[in-house]
Amino acid sequence: MGGHSNWPEWIYVAVVIALMAWVGAEAWEAERLVEHIPEDAETIIVTGQQWFWTFEHEDGTKEIGELHVEVGKAYKFEIVSTDVNHSFNIHDYVVLLDAIPGRVNTVWFAPDAPGVHDIQCREYCGLIHYNMRGTLYVEEPSH
């Protein structure tokens, strides 16, 4: 109210809108690239259940609580759950996707250096949610 001019507020709102448009555009572009799964990616089936992770490689080998992968390859995780919702997370590689019963969620990553990383559950799943952890071993290719 009152007769004063409101142009500072309009400029401010325009700046905020421009900033948000920039954030949105950058995020859109980055996400579009991240979601593009390489065609040669090896599939690993990740199963979450109360309260551990199981990994099944393309050649049929299974691992529980540990995952061994090789540097330089791309991997596609197909994430499923047998009981309640979990969330498969390798924080160091920003791999995060929910494991939801009845659905298959897909995410990929390509480790770039040998190392050992934590795997954890990031969606509340009950009693031992806090300790639903695993270890990722990124190894040099064996040839």
Binding site: V16, W28, A30, E31, P101, R103, R122
Partner: protein, 508 residues
């Protein structure tokens, strides 16, 4: 304003009263009780997480129950009823009506809260305030889970009744001389948030009922083993509870609109932009719910739509911040306790909003989602903005409600400690989230960075705890023995001019 506590009455006269200030007082007392109960649980959580391993809580299930009841209590039994307390006191006065439109309905809406609180506290459920299926259907222990569902059901009905009452009071009972464009911004905030409640709450009410029948095995809406889909629950839940964020925050912003011009001794910079931002926020708030669900495996298109919807809400929130800063610009500000809380609340509101933009940007969300970043982020809203706005307003209304003045020095100490504590706790939690610590965990591996940041967080929480003890002592002591307030100008701002609603309503 009636001075309830100055005229001693038997307690049953207040309990069975339907007068708006009596119901307001009941809302006030019960919401503050739950603030202290829920806050104590937070201190328990923080004490447990001070170090890896078991500290004071012996098992994970108890810990899970504690954070579930902590969240449920502070959102549904503190924040919402506190706003109703303020609305009950102020809305009828601001629209110049003798009471709420439906006084009996008003009292009924209040009296639904204590039984709901009892159900939630006696049950002590463990499935988080989000009650995600299929965990909540096949895994969560009863009867706690069922009691939580019934408690929330009752609270939903209560807030719909309250919202109806506010809408009718503001739109239909305002003084005929007063146009809707003259209703103060605090009342506008209740109009906006009540309209959101009417649209949003029924969805969750339906989802709760479906959750209950799923738990009973009679249906399988959200149970994949019976052909249901847990994601549909997530959509129904967030369709209610993302807008609910605005239900919580809008009244707190309204309270700041009452305080900041008063203590700046200036009219609000732009009344119209305040209304515009409230209305815009309550509409745009419905376009962003699924930004809570990026990690459930949504398609790129869905994520994009909800990111745009989320970013669209930012300008409306930013307009409020601009309005406050522009009002304080070049003003003769008096930093009494209520003003300190409001200004601190705006600073934290801005920080919370900035963090929210990070969450809404799709690729970044996969770093922050379900980590302590998110805990820090939404606590900057619920604690830093909403509780700060509410507590500031409590100091502001204290002389009008009790007829006595609180201790100003203790009020300022309360603010200073709370502000330091809030920054220590919730800013640190943002960083802890970037280091990957998940939410809702009872124990964590001994990663040095995690330990250090958890300890800073716990120390901050204890500082808040101390400040709240000072607050409680100040309120109780001053309500009975504080110095008598000059209700024409309790804050010494210089004359009646700054209390237009008081001046127009001598009989109140």
């Amino acid at each position: 304003m009636t001075l309830e506590l100055q005229k001693p009455r038997p307690i049953w006269q207040i309990m069975f009263s339907t007068h708006h200030t009596d119901v307001g007082l009941l809302y006030l007392i019960s919401s503050l009780t739950f603030l202290f109960l829920g806050g104590s649980l937070a201190l328990g959580i923080r004490a447990e997480l001070f170090l890896p391993g078991s500290q004071i809580i012996t098992d994970a299930m108890t810990f899970n129950r504690i954070f579930t009841v902590h969240g449920t209590t502070l959102i549904f039994l503190f924040i919402i009823p506190f706003a109703s307390a303020v609305g009950n006191y102020y809305v009828p006065i601001m629209v110049r009506y003798k009471d709420m439109a439906y006084p009996k309905l008003n009292a009924i809406a209040f009296w639904m809260i204590p039984p709901a609180g009892v159900l939630i506290w006696l049950g002590f459920a463990d499935f988080t305030w989000y009650a995600t299926p299929p965990y909540s259907i096949i895994s969560a222990p009863g009867p706690a889970a069922d009691m939580w569902i019934f408690g929330l059901k009752i609270l939903g009905v209560s807030s719909v009744l309250g919202a109806l009452n506010f809408i009718v009071t503001i739109l239909k009972c305002k003084h005929p001389d007063m146009s809707i464009g003259q209703v103060p911004l605090l009342a506008w905030s209740f109009l906006s948030s009540s309209l959101i409640i009417l649209v949003a709450i029924p969805t969750f009410a339906a989802a709760l009922l479906m959750l209950l029948t799923d738990r009973l095995g009679a249906s399988g809406f959200f149970n994949p083993a019976m052909g249901g889909d847990p994601i549909s629950y997530a959509h129904l839940f967030w369709f209610t509870f993302h807008p609910e964020v605005y239900v919580l925050v809008i009244p707190a912003i309204g309270m700041m609109y009452e305080i900041i011009p008063r203590f700046s001794r200036k009219p609000i910079y732009s009344y119209n932009s305040g209304i515009f931002a409230f209305v815009l926020l309550s509409i745009v708030g419905f376009s962003s719910w699924a930004h809570h669900m990026y990690a459930t495996g949504m398609s790129f298109t869905e994520k994009t739509v909800f990111m745009v919807g989320t970013l669209a809400a930012v300008p409306a929130s930013a307009m409020h911040v601009f309005n406050f800063v522009a009002t304080m610009w070049n003003a003769r500000i008096k930093f009494s306790t209520p003003m300190m809380w409001s200004v601190g609340g705006i600073a934290l509101f801005f920080s919370a909003g900035a963090g929210g933009v990070v969450n809404s940007a799709m690729p970044l969300d996969f770093t922050t989602h379900d980590t302590y970043w998110v805990v820090g982020h939404f606590h900057l809203f619920v604690m830093g903005t909403i509780a700060f706005g509410s507590i500031g307003f409590l100091y502001y209304m204290f002389p009008y409600v009790t007829g006595r003045m609180y201790n100003e020095a203790l009020g300022k100490i309360h603010f200073t400690l709370s502000f330091i504590g809030t920054v220590l706790v919730f800013f640190t939690q943002h960083i802890l989230g970037l280091y990957g610590m998940p939410r809702r965990i009872y124990d964590y591996p001994p990663i040095p960075e995690w330990i250090a940041m958890n300890q800073i967080t716990t120390i901050g929480a204890m500082i808040i705890g101390i400040s709240m003890a000072i607050f409680l002592a100040n309120m109780i002591h001053s309500a009975g023995k504080g110095k008598i307030a000059d209700t024409d100008d309790p804050f010494g701002l210089g004359g009646k001019y700054y209390y237009p609603f008081e001046a127009k309503n001598p009989s109140h």
